[in-house]
Amino acid sequence: MKTRREFLRSTVLGASATWTVPMFVERTFADLHLGARDLATQAVTGKDDTILVVLQLAGGNDGLNTLVPFADDAYHKARPRLGKKEKELIKLSDHVGLNSSMPFLGSLFKEGNLGVVQGVGYPNPNRSHFVSTSIWETADTTNRSNTGWIGRYFDNACPGADPTVGISLNKTQPESFGALKNPGVCLSSPELYRWIHGGGERAQAEEFFASLNSPEHDDSPVDGASIDMPAGGKTGGIQGEDNLAFLERVAMDARVSSAKILELASKYRTKVTYEGTPIARSLNMVSRLIAGGMPTRVYYVSHGGFDTHNQQINSHDRLLSQLDGALKSFFADLKAQGNDKRVVLMTFSEFGRRVSENASSGTDHGRASCMFLAGEAVKGGLFGKYPSLTDLDAGDLKHNVDFRGVYASVLEGWLKTSSKPVLRGDFEKLGVIG
C-alpha cells in the first residue's frame, strides 16, 4: 500500500526528486487562480464536481423537539413542560412539524429542497456521547474502526488528491476524517493559516522553514505490517504512523495548503450577511473556499451545545434558530455565487434524547433522531417512518432507518462513488438524493 507521499513521488515527481511543493498542486492552484481572477468564482476544473457539507450537531440533538410528532398524544404526555403545541410548529404533514425556530428550513421544505429523514439510528445503540459519536463518524457500530467514513471515501475514491480534498473548520480533526492515506486538513481561520516570520529576508527564511518542514525520510511511515498495528488514538492520523512521521506529514500538508487557502479565501467578497455565531462563521468560510475554487469535496462544520439535560426549552430553540440563520445565509451566498447546485448539506447528531423530560426540565441521552439533507439536488420530503412513542426501548425511540443507509445514499447519489468499500457493507438507500 502506498502513502499519498509515495504516490506523488513515484507518479508525479519521479523517485529521485527532492521533496518540495508537489508540482501538480502548484499548477492546479495557479490555473484556478487565473481562471478565477475575474469571476471570483470557480470557473475551471471540477466545475461539475459535487460538494458535501457535513454539519455536526454536537451533544445529542433532541429530535422530538426538532421534528415534532404533534399529532401523537404520547408526545404531549411525556413532555408536559417541554412539549411543543401544534400551533407553535411549521407543519410538514398531518403528523409532524418543524420547530418554529427554523423558518428557513421550513421554506426549503416547501420548495422541495429539504429532505428530512425520520427515526435514524443504529442497532444496539450506545448512549455515551463519545462512543456514539465515534460510531457515527466511523460508521462502525462495533466502534473498532480507526478510520472514519469520510476518510475512507478519500482513500477509496480520491486517489492522489490534494490534502485539501477534505477541510474541517474545527480546531480538531473530526474522527470521520481518519484515513489511511489522506485525512484532509483542518483550519479555523485562514488569516492565521500560514507561517509568519519577521526579518529582512523572509523568502530566505521561508526556504529554511520549508526544508525543516518536509519529511526527512522519503520512505513511507506506513507500510507492510505496521498497518495492522493499532493506531495511537482515534485521530485524523494515518494508522500505525509514529509520532514524528505524523508530525512531519502534517507539517508538510500545512505548508503546501496554507498559502493557497489564504489566497483563495481572500478573493471572494460575500454580499450576504451572516450572523456572528460560530456556526454562521464556519459556513461563511466554507462558502468563500467554495467560491475561491478549492478542490475540496467534503467540508465539515460543527454546531455544539445540544446536550440539553437542563432547562432545555430556551437553549434548544436558540440552537436551532442559530442553525437556521446560518443555513439561510449560506444557501443565499451559494446562490449568489452560482454554486448552489453543487452543494448538499447533511446534518447528524450522535443520538436523540429520551422521550420523557427529566426533573430538570431537560432531556437525557436517547436513541433515534432525525437528519436533514438540504440543497438543490435533494429530493425534498419526509423519509423513513416516525418511530412510535409508545413502543419504546427502555424509554427511547426505536430507529427505523440505519444512518449508514443515509451515508450510502449520499455517497452513491451525490459523491458518485460505490458505498460498499467506504461503509464496509451494503445498506439500504433512501430516495432522498440522486
Binding site: 448512549r127 455515551s128 456521547h129 463519545f130 490534502p163 474541517s168 480546531k171 480538531t172 480533526q173 486538513v185 483542518c186 483550519l187 479555523s188 488569516e191 492565521l192 493559516y193 507561517w195 509568519i196 516570520h197 519577521g198 526579518g199 529582512g200 529576508e201 523572509r202 530566505q204 527564511a205 529554511f208 526544508s211 525543516l212 518542514n213 526527512e216 493499532p230 495511537g232 488514538g233 482515534k234 485524523g236 509520532n243 514524528l244 505524523f246 508530525l247 502534517v250 507539517a251 500538508d253 500545512a254 495548503s257 481572500s266 460575500t270 456572528g276 462563521r281 461563511n284 468560510m285 446536550d307 439535560h309 437542563n310 427529566n358 426533573a359 430538570s360 431537560g362 437525557d364 441521552h365
Partner: protein
C-alpha cells in the same frame, strides 16, 4: 514496545526485598516494574523533568541531574513547596466567596422588590441589566482564575503536583462554560491539588459532592422520582470503570442513589437532603440495598475495573500511548494494594527502566499547555503577557477550565492538525519575537476579511493582542544566546538545541540551523536575529515532542 515487555520481569525475590524497605501502611505491590539504577544521564534527567513536570531551563535540568535519579524522583513526588504557596485571587477565597454569594442573594431579592409593579418589559430589562453586571464579573474572574493556574504551572517548584492537577482536571473534566461560576472551578482546582498524588478513591468520593461537578453533571437537579442519569453514567464510564464494565441497569439504579445531594448556591456547601433522596432498594452490580451516592462509589471501587482505568491513563499521560497489557495489569495490582493511592504508582513509573526506554524519550506529542509552559520555561520567561497566553490556549485547542466535554481532551496526535501546528509555529514567533516585523506588514487586503471573520469579542481580543505585541519585550537573548557564542554558529546552535530539545538532533535539522545562523551572522548578530533563529528552531515537527 518489546523493550518494555522485557523490562517487565516479575521477580518475587526482589519484591520480597522491597517489602522490608516499605514503611508499614504502605502496601507492597507484588509485580513491580523493573527499576532503573540511580546513575543517569542528563538527557534522562531532562526527560523526567519534561514528563513529570513542564521541563525547565538548562540550569534547572543540571540541578535535577546532579541529585541522582532516585532523589530527583522523590523531589518531584514529595515537594517541599506548600500547597498554599500561591495565594488565591481574593474572590476565590472561601470566605470571600460565601460573602459574594450572600450579596448575590441579596441582590436577587432586591431585584424582586424593585421590579414589583413594573411592566413585564421593564422587569425583563431590569433583570437583564443586573445579570449583565454579574456576567461581566464572572468573565473577568474566569480569566483571572485561568491566568492564576497557568502562572502557577510556570512558576511552581512542585511541577508534578500541577501536572497531576491537570491530569485530574482532564479526568474529572468540568467546564466553566456550563458551571458559569469561576469560584467553583477554583474550589475544584484546589480539591485536585489537595489530592494530587493522594487517594483516587477519596477524590472520587469528594468529587461526588463537588459543587462545580454537581452543576456540570446535573446532580444538583436530580431528584427522587425523576433522577438525572448524567453523573451516574459518567462516573462509571469515564471516571472509574470504563465502557463495558457496567450495565444500563446499573446506571439507572445508581442515578436513583445519586439523588438528594443539594448545593446551597448561597454558601457553597453541599448537603444530603433525605426528602429529595430516593431511599428505596437499588440493585447495582448485583448487590441490593438502600444505597446513597457514597454507597455507590464504595461499590464501584469493589469492581476490578476500578483499579485499571486510572493506571492506564497515568501510563498514557506520563509514558506512552497504548500501554502494554501486562504493564497495566501489574500497575493495577499495585494500585489496588496501595488502596488507590497515586504516589506509590508514580514512584514505580518514574523509577522504572520502561519510563526511560529509548522509544519513550522525546516521543510524546506535547499538549498545548505543556507546549506553552515548557517553551516559556525554556526561554526563562516568568511573566508572559496574559492576554496572549489565554489566546494561545484557544488557538492551540486547550483552554484551562474549559475541556471540550466530560471526557476531557483528546491527547496525543489529536492535538495536531495543519491548523494547530501552524498556530504553534506562530505562537512561538510571537513569544520569541521572531515574527515581529511580519505582523506589522501583513498585506492590507486581508484586513477586511479579518473584520468579517470576527465578532466583537474576538475583535477586542485581537486589539488586546496587538497591544501585547507592542509592549512585549521578548526573552533575554543576552542570556539565551550569549554574544560570546554568536561568533561561532555551531556552538550557538548546540547550546540552543540543548535548551529547546534536550537531545542531539538529526543532521538535517542541526545543519539547517547552523546554516541559518551563518547566514544571519553577517556583520552583527543582533538580538532580533537571535529571536528569528529561535523561532525557526521552534517551527519544526521535532519541537512538538516532549
Amino acid at each position: 514496545m518489546a523493550g518494555w515487555r522485557a523490562a517487565m520481569k516479575i521477580s518475587p525475590l526482589r519484591n520480597h526485598l522491597h517489602r522490608s524497605r516499605f514503611p508499614p501502611g504502605n502496601p507492597i505491590p507484588l509485580a513491580m516494574l523493573q527499576a532503573a539504577p540511580d546513575e543517569w544521564t542528563i538527557f534522562e534527567a531532562a526527560h523526567l523533568l519534561r514528563r513529570a513536570g513542564f521541563g525547565g531551563s538548562p540550569d534547572e535540568i543540571k540541578l535535577l541531574h546532579s541529585m541522582g535519579r532516585h532523589r530527583a524522583v522523590e523531589s518531584l513526588l514529595v515537594p517541599t513547596e506548600p500547597v498554599d504557596a500561591f495565594p488565591l485571587p481574593d474572590w476565590a477565597n472561601r470566605e470571600q466567596a460565601v460573602a459574594d454569594m450572600k450579596a448575590r442573594l441579596q441582590q436577587f431579592q432586591e431585584t424582586r422588590r424593585a421590579t414589583r409593579g413594573m411592566s413585564a418589559e421593564e422587569e425583563e430589562k431590569f433583570r437583564r441589566n443586573s445579570q449583565q453586571e454579574q456576567q461581566q464579573l464572572n468573565r473577568r474572574h474566569g480569566i483571572e482564575g485561568q491566568g492564576w493556574w497557568f502562572r502557577r504551572m510556570l512558576k511552581t517548584k512542585a511541577p508534578l503536583r500541577e501536572k497531576m492537577v491537570l491530569f485530574w482536571h482532564d479526568h474529572f473534566a468540568t467546564s466553566l462554560q456550563k458551571v458559569k461560576q469561576p469560584v467553583l472551578m477554583m474550589m475544584q482546582n484546589e480539591l485536585f491539588r489537595k489530592h494530587a498524588t493522594g487517594s483516587f478513591k477519596e477524590l472520587t468520593h469528594e468529587i461526588l459532592q463537588d459543587p462545580a461537578m454537581m452543576l456540570y453533571l446535573d446532580t444538583q437537579t436530580s431528584k427522587k422520582g425523576k433522577p438525572n442519569e448524567n453523573f451516574a453514567r459518567e462516573v462509571m464510564e469515564l471516571f472509574t470503570l470504563g465502557e463495558g464494565n457496567y450495565s444500563e441497569q446499573d446506571i439507572k439504579e445508581a442515578a436513583r442513589a445519586f439523588t438528594g445531594y443539594q448545593l446551597n448556591r448561597f454558601n457553597g456547601t453541599v448537603t444530603h437532603e433525605p426528602r429529595q433522596w430516593d431511599d428505596g432498594d437499588k440493585t447495582i452490580f448485583g448487590k441490593t440495598g438502600k444505597f446513597d451516592g457514597e454507597g455507590v462509589v464504595d461499590l464501584i471501587f469493589q469492581q476490578s475495573a476500578a483499579s485499571e482505568l486510572v493506571p492506564r491513563k497515568l501510563w498514557e499521560y506520563f509514558v506512552s500511548e497504548n500501554p502494554p497489557e501486562e504493564g497495566v495489569d501489574a500497575l493495577a495490582k499495585s494500585f489496588r494494594e496501595a488502596d488507590f493511592r497515586i504516589e506509590p504508582l508514580l514512584r514505580e513509573i518514574f523509577r522504572s527502566k520502561a519510563f526511560y526506554a529509548e522509544k519513550v524519550i522525546r516521543n510524546q506529542i506535547k499538549s498545548p499547555i505543556q507546549y506553552l509552559v515548557q517553551m516559556l520555561k525554556e526561554l526563562e520567561l516568568a511573566d508572559p503577557p496574559q492576554a496572549y497566553t489565554m489566546n494561545a490556549q484557544q488557538q492551540l485547542g486547550q483552554v484551562l477550565f474549559m475541556p471540550p466535554n466530560v471526557a476531557g481532551w483528546d491527547w496525543g496526535k489529536a492535538w495536531i492538525n495543519t491548523n494547530t501546528l501552524l498556530s504553534r509555529y506562530n505562537v512561538a514567533g510571537f513569544i520569541t519575537k521572531g515574527s515581529q516585523e511580519a505582523a506589522k506588514d501583513a498585506p492590507d487586503d486581508e484586513a477586511p476579511m479579518m473584520d468579517m471573520q470576527m465578532d466583537r469579542r474576538e475583535a477586542m481580543r485581537a486589539g488586546a493582542m496587538q497591544m501585547a505585541g507592542r509592549t512585549w519585550a521578548g526573552p533575554d537573548f543576552e542570556k539565551i544566546a550569549p554574544r560570546s557564542l554568536r561568533e561561532d554558529p555551531e556552538k550557538l546552535v548546540d547550546a540552543l538545541v540543548f535548551r529547546f530539545f534536550q537531545a542531539p538532533l538529526g543532521k538535517k535539522e542541526r545543519g539547517t540551523f547552523v546554516e541559518y545562523a551563518v547566514s544571519k551572522k553577517g556583520a552583527i548578530f543582533t538580538n532580533k536575529e537571535a529571536g528569528e533563529l529561535c523561532h525557526l528552531m521552534l517551527s519544526t515537527p521535532h519541537y512538538q515532542l516532549a
